[in-house]
């Protein structure tokens, strides 16, 4: 059995570590590129969102590299994403690829369900082995996210543009290579150190822009045209509450125990949106309300035709807590130049607002 893993940000690194430790042969398709997108678009129904198209592209590329089992998020819910695995399986079968789709319904099956799926994929390895491999995967995930948080802070103030990003790329590779806890720890400390030593402009106070929206486009730089780095280049510090490590921590371990990290965000959204509308729509509205005081502006990312985010986008302007919001719809038609122009204009607006505020 060869397991193919579609991409979402750097999620492939912990998954690869997990499967490697269990001696499962796994195939990582090339990172998202133009070919992935073209393949995805060619075989998808046109009205679907970019996460569907990109993951389908990944799957086709993984199958071409010899994968016969594919893993994909799934489950019941309101957002279409829960249904994608089934449709993608049908599409792949219609294309003549013979492969099995394994759905990971994290929010339904909880931790145990997930471990059971891993047990099946690993050809019934011992529970001890599975849990230790799973722990190691989680360790890699949290190392990645810790470094990314530092990178987000460094990007706007670095004197040499792109220095933080270059280190981040190296760090990702090093984390991917690390194969025990000691090396992983060393890599993490080492790179955070190096990032802190980057030559910085200490006088400059960067604008703070929150970034919220749909899970996949937030975490997959290819789909949002790397909006975080671009904002960094414009001297803006990006704050994001969605991190995969946080998300897995809560949805696997803490939510079943009744701890809900999103309760605060939901409560903030309550006066404007009373109920969960699927996907991340509720959270998008909540984040605007909650962080209106701390942030200078908010960037709202959504895939084109995303149902929950359209509702959120319609509700956002009517909130009392007022900060500038720029909604960027991500799809295969988005071009870098168009997005950059909009980002520059948005940042100019925020800067002017800050200057005016200081003069008063």
């Amino acid at each position: 059995m060869r397991v193919g893993i579609p991409h979402m940000g750097n999620l492939y690194i912990p998954l690869k570590a997990l499967f490697d430790r269990l001696n499962v042969d796994c195939v990582i398709p090339p990172v998202n590129n133009q070919r992935t997108l073209s393949l995805g678009i060619k075989h998808s129904p046109e009205g679907l969102c970019i996460p569907f198209k990109l993951t389908l592209g990944n799957m086709i590329e993984a199958v071409e590299l010899g994968a016969d089992t594919l893993i994909m998020a799934g489950g019941t819910g309101i957002c279409r994403l829960g249904y994608y695995a089934e449709i993608q399986e049908q599409i792949l079968h219609d294309l003549g690829y013979n492969c099995e789709m394994v759905q990971l319904g994290v929010s339904e099956q909880k931790l145990f369900g997930l471990l059971k799926i891993i047990k099946r994929l690993s050809n019934y390895a011992s529970w001890f082995k599975i849990i230790s491999a799973f722990r190691f995967g989680l360790a890699k995930l949290s190392a990645l996210d810790r470094i990314e948080r530092v990178v987000q802070k460094v990007r706007p103030v670095e004197r040499i543009t792109g220095a933080a990003n270059r280190l981040f790329t190296k760090a990702i590779k090093a984390i991917d290579k690390a194969d025990d806890y000691a090396t992983l720890k060393k890599v993490q400390i080492d790179y955070i150190d190096q990032l802190n030593q980057i030559d910085k402009d200490t006088q400059y106070k960067p604008l703070i822009v929150g970034i919220t929206g749909e899970f996949y486009v937030l975490l997959e730089p290819f789909s949002n045209l790397d909006v975080e780095s671009e904002l960094g280049k414009l001297g803006v510090e990006v704050r994001r509450t969605t991190f995969i490590s946080e998300w897995t921590k809560f949805s696997l371990f803490l939510n079943p125990l009744g701890v809900n990290e999103k309760a605060r965000i939901h409560k903030a959204a309550l006066p404007y949106l009373k109920r969960d509308i699927g996907g991340d729509g509720w959270e998008s509205v909540g984040e605007k309300v909650l962080h209106a005081k701390e942030y200078d502006g908010l960037i709202h990312l959504a895939p084109f035709t995303c149902m929950p985010e359209i509702i959120a986008q319609n509700i956002m302007p009517s909130t009392k807590e007022n900060i500038p919001v720029l909604t960027i719809l991500c799809d295969e038609q988005v071009a870098k130049a168009g997005m950059l122009t909009r980002l520059e204009a948005f940042v100019d607006l925020l800067e002017r607002k800050r200057r005016k505020g200081n003069n008063r």
Partner: protein
């Protein structure tokens, strides 16, 4: 007397008799907006972001029409009416979204319908809705039982007499039935099934009188409402396994059923940007291309859809079907 406004859009076609009965039993007057007009569509579209789907824009247009003509507007948030099958986000966000984009609207009566949370919650939600009219829980109970009976009668009427929702609503409201359309059944040229949501199929403004165009060309028209719940479920299970959204049986179930039941052609009608339909219509299309027996065409509607475009495509589709029938008839001879 309290006047309750009900927009003639979205779930109106599914539940109007229930709502009307419920509110009337509780002593309220029900005000329904008239059929969609161009003005409604334009005013509704102007309030929301461009990506919002056409039916929602039309819905908001109806709400805007009702502003000042009623004391409350009833917009339920229907989350699920079957276990483990949920509804599209747009229906869930509808009350809050209307509130956000139409601040001048009369107070919105909303209620959560979610059968997955258990009967108790559902009854509580119904009582809370009834609280606006009476404190007496027995009266609310009586009204909701009467309303449920009205719902059953409505669906019975549609499937037993092969009626469309607007026709059935007319009969229920006591308006004498218009000219029976059985007159041209004798000289039918083809039987065409159309699949899609009732708010698209029966809103003559947004689909440019699609059904009457088909009927005027002497075709027999079949719609999803003419199938029984079992037939829809069976066909849905055949095509996609389990249903994922509440109102998708109208598309995928009806499509699957008609594909294998000897109609001459199937036309799917969907709105641009509709999340559930974009998947489900594609499933029907895939099945049609696998079977290769029944021609299938899907039409996507939005506010820029032009009448001429629809007519041209419809004519081409019908010509193809007539030609197919003629060739078949000749080869049989």
């Amino acid at each position: 007397m309290i006047r309750i406004g009900i927009p003639r859009a979205l779930l109106y076609y599914e539940y109007y008799p229930v709502w009307k009965r419920f509110f009337e039993e509780l002593g309220a007057e029900v005000v329904v907006s008239p059929p969609t007009t161009q003005d409604m569509m334009v005013s509704g579209s102007s309030r929301v972001v461009a990506d919002t789907c056409l039916p929602v824009k039309v819905f908001l247009g109806h709400v805007l029409y009702l502003v000042g003509k009623c004391d409350y507007i009833f917009i339920p948030a229907i989350r699920s009416v079957k276990s483990k099958v949920y509804n599209c986000s747009k229906f869930l966000g509808l009350p809050d979204m209307t509130n956000a984009v139409i601040p001048e609207s009369p107070p919105i009566l909303d209620m959560d319908v979610d059968v997955n949370k258990g009967k108790r919650k559902l009854y509580q939600a119904i009582y809370q809705l009834g609280r606006h009219f009476t404190w007496n829980p027995f009266k609310v109970r009586q009204a909701s039982l009467a309303a449920w009976q009205a719902h059953l009668n409505y669906h019975e009427l549609m499937s037993s007499h092969n009626l469309t929702p607007p026709q059935a609503i007319e009969i229920i409201s006591g308006i004498p039935e218009a000219e029976a359309n059985s007159s041209y059944l004798s000289s039918t040229r083809a039987t065409i099934a159309i699949i899609g949501h009732p708010y698209l199929l029966y809103d003559e403004h947004i689909n440019h009188r699609f059904i009457s165009r088909l009927e005027q060309a002497h075709n027999r028209v079949l719609t999803p409402e003419m199938l029984s719940a079992e037939e829809l479920q069976l066909a849905t299970a055949r095509l996609v396994g389990r249903a994922y959204w509440t109102y998708e049986e109208e598309v995928v179930g009806a499509g699957g059923h008609y594909l294998q039941n000897g109609v001459d052609g199937i036309i799917g009608i969907m709105a641009f940007g509709c999340g559930p339909d974009s998947l489900m219509m594609d499933m029907v299309r895939r099945q049609a291309s696998r079977l290769k027996t029944t021609p299938f065409m899907s039409l996507t509607l939005e506010e820029h859809t032009a009448e001429a475009g629809i007519v041209t495509r419809l004519e081409a589709f019908l010509d193809m079907i007539y030609r197919k029938r003629r060739i078949q008839a000749e080869s049989c001879r």
